[in-house]
Symmetry: C2
């Protein structure tokens, strides 16, 4: 058996502690599977006095991750601090320069600086691995870079933020408005310190941008993701969508089209009985479509100590086994610039509006849609609402986002709207 | 860029032709992802004159796979002939001895001779890869050997024979008896030449035995799988199960218990709204449970040209990239003997019987179950059947297989049975 693989672990929060526990629990299993022992040399966090639910007595303590990253007796630097700038990035660069391989769970960093880090790593002959950065315990990075290597990827879709899915499914099951469930989630500790990372769709978009790069051989282009969070999803829409046989999910979609790369993260309707529609709570799901394999669906826990640490361990075992692949599945220097394109792929849309209870109101709306080239699949009018406002739901046939935007812009001219219409995409599954 | 990886492909049927087409279609993609070109040197099949829906003009033809396997200008021998003995096995051994790596889709061979082939390969410093052998396009081998390497695996379950799942879902949707749908499937070409491989559960059990080995670090032990096919699943049971909120699936389950390794393949009830319950037609699903990751679900096409060739290509690209792992994820010489155990893990059971329409009949049945230590969760009596026979359904609470067998044995003593009772396990998901 070869020499041990020696880890330096920076960050002992949820994920870091989980990794320490697995290394301690599965000594023999890891050695058998890696072909060599996996050991921890030293760890680092801010507060050495904190009680951490893991026995750290056998490891050196380094107050400064920069020092940990450069220790001679560390082979792999495991960055589990977080943040797309500062110490996480600096220490990873230092580790690479000191000849270490790097494992990280840091999606923000990979989404924003992944390209430059990959170029640096590859120029130095080092590897960076980040299975845990996307969809936690689901092995989506490996599946896309390795298992689907013989496929031209046509589309990737995913529900990749457990907190948003928790909020949306809890709103539905408890019949509670967004604000109430958001507050519950905050108290349960489900939200990031800056909650817009979750509910604003940013965290999920980091993940989507990473998957785009692997799928299409392009440089990660987080800035080009069209992002809309779940803040404007109302319990009304959830209930109305359910009436029509749909669920609302914060869905990320990336696909290469003739016009360029479309990346969008937005609340979408999906059929209630589809795998995506049935996803409850914090569970994540990624759907990948390849020209040979067809559709592959992966489902599992997208966050939490065990699942995330499991993904980090898979990266560590790979390095222990001597597997050395390019960071994004092919040399970073050869990745093309993604040519970003606004969403133009047609889809059906859901439109909810309230109309004034006037004769001919519905006809006026239908005529605006018709003029915009949009044909109606189903329409439902909910009796008479309050204050002579009539809730109306429309599901369109497939049409372009431009046509929908145009129609929504023109709708006020009917003079029969009571309030702003809401429009949501129904992603083709 | 390094030298090309040169393939010798033996077998040009569904899978072989699919592999040729991908290599021809994705020349640049494969080179970018592999770090080197992937080329085909020569191919082999029985009939050189057959029209094959792929352009073979650029490749040498070898009438004998043994010769192909030993050519100096072949780096990887791709065995896509099939069969657990004979030319498939002989040519793989020859290729290994000639210093080639091997990729195969041959589950029968890996399930029956995997251990000896792995020992041979590893003693020669060669690799054998077989992603396509289990669940077609679903990357389950890679997920288990690599992505879940940091987990103690607790259980693996799967629907891994698309033909059986097609038959079962078609029986339900069309309300047709087994024999009729079996005949349909035969005419559609969905069945193996020897259909008991499919409907007898053997093909799926080959796959299960392979997964057991990887999950638990044991030698593949196909002979120890408790196998029951779908031949005795009746449309009555499908309908009755649906009434109670279940679907019937040919489900493989492997788990390590204190008593040894339990491997079973049998028709089971699963909740209709679970991911397994919702699987339609030929789609496959594998569920893996690990002590850190929790439950991971993978779903995709389990067979067919594109999906199976996609899996073969992932193995080829791995070898092109220089990834060299032990055949079953850890050195074959270190795999333990599986200590096989008959199924003892408790579960709920479904029991269907017909009783004579006599007073006290049900009470007699309930008392036998009670004596066997089985408590009843739900019971349903279907009015009065034909000939004074009353169909009765029982769903038990969790109990042991032994208790169920014992009760079924004793039931005739009640003197109220009209016909054989049917019993099916309700696997805990
Ligand atoms: N949590 C999840 O489920 C999950 C899932 C996927 C990916 N991730 C990613 O994994 C990474 C870690 O997440 P987490 O949830 O484990 O975070 P966390 O619980 O907040 O832990 C962060 C750790 O970093 C340490 N730290 C912060 N600044 C430091 C500094 N300057 N020097 C040394 N240590 C420092 C903290 O030390 P103290 O403990 O002393 O404060 C803490 O131990 C993030 O990139 C996150 O996005 C997390
Ligand atoms: N089909 C699937 O969806 C699928 C999925 C997973 C795994 N697999 C596995 O993949 C393997 C191939 O399956 P398949 O469906 O592609 O089989 P197939 O369509 O029956 O093709 C078998 C090929 O092997 C050739 N062959 C047979 N005997 C030969 C010999 N003595 N010398 C040279 N060539 C010989 C045949 O030649 P001719 O064409 O000249 O007759 C044919 O091209 C099997 O192990 C199977 O279990 C298949």
């Amino acid at each position: 058996m070869s020499a041990p693989l020696r880890l330096g672990i920076a960050g002992l929060g949820t994920v870091g502690t989980g990794v320490v526990k697995i290394v301690q629990k599965h000594v023999e299993l890891l050695a058998a599977r890696s072909g060599r022992p996996v050991t921890i040399t030293a760890v680092s966090a801010r507060d050495q006095m904190k009680n951490r639910d893991a026995d750290l007595s056998g490891f050196d303590w380094e107050a400064d991750p920069m020092v940990l990253a450069c220790r001679d007796d560390v082979d792999v630097y495991v960055e589990l601090i977080g943040g797309d700038e500062g110490i996480a990035k600096d220490s990873i660069e230092a580790a690479l320069r000191a000849g270490k391989d790097v494992v990280t769970a840091n999606k923000a960093l990979v989404a924003i600086h992944g390209q430059e880090l990959a170029v640096l790593a590859e120029s130095l002959g080092r590897v960076i691995r980040f299975e845990a950065a996307v969809a936690g315990g689901i092995p989506i990075i490996k599946t896309m870079t390795e298992s689907l290597a013989g496929n031209g990827i046509t589309r990737v879709m995913g529900v990749m933020n457990g907190t948003c899915n928790y909020i949306l499914t809890r709103m539905e099951s408890a019949g509670l408005p967004y604000e109430t469930v958001f507050e519950e989630a905050r108290q349960l500790g489900y939200l990031e310190a800056d909650p817009t990372l979750d509910v604003g769709g940013i965290d999920a978009s980091h993940k989507l941008a990473i998957l785009s790069s692997i799928a299409f051989g392009t440089k990660v282009d987080f800035d080009a993701v069209e992002i809309e969070g779940i803040e404007r999803v109302s319990i009304d829409d959830i209930n109305r969508a359910a009436d029509m046989g749909y669920k609302i999910k914060l869905l990320g979609v990336t696909q290469m089209t003739g016009r360029g790369l479309e990346q969008r993260m937005s609340p979408c309707l999906v059929p209630a009985d589809s795998p995506l529609g049935q996803l409850q709570g914090g569970t994540n799901m990624v759907v990948v479509e390849g020209d040979s394999v067809g559709q592959i669906v992966l489902r599992g826990a997208g966050a939490g100590e065990g699942p995330t640490a499991s993904a980090v361990m898979s990266d560590i075992v790979e390095i222990a086994r001597g597997v050395r692949l390019p960071v994004f599945g092919q040399p970073a220097s050869g990745l093309r610039n993604a040519q970003p394109a606004r969403t133009a792929v047609p889809a059906a849309y859901y439109i909810r509006m309230e109309l004034q209870d006037k004769p001919g109101a519905l006809a006026k709306v239908a005529s605006i849609l018709g003029d915009a080239g949009i044909s109606i699949d189903r329409m439902r009018q909910y009796g008479h609402g309050e204050d002579d406002r009539v809730p109306v739901l429309i599901v369109t046939h497939r049409t372009t986002p431009d046509a929908i935007d145009h129609a929504i812009e023109l709708l006020p001219r009917t003079g029969v709207l009571a309030g702003e219409p809401v429009e949501l995409r129904i992603e083709d599954l």
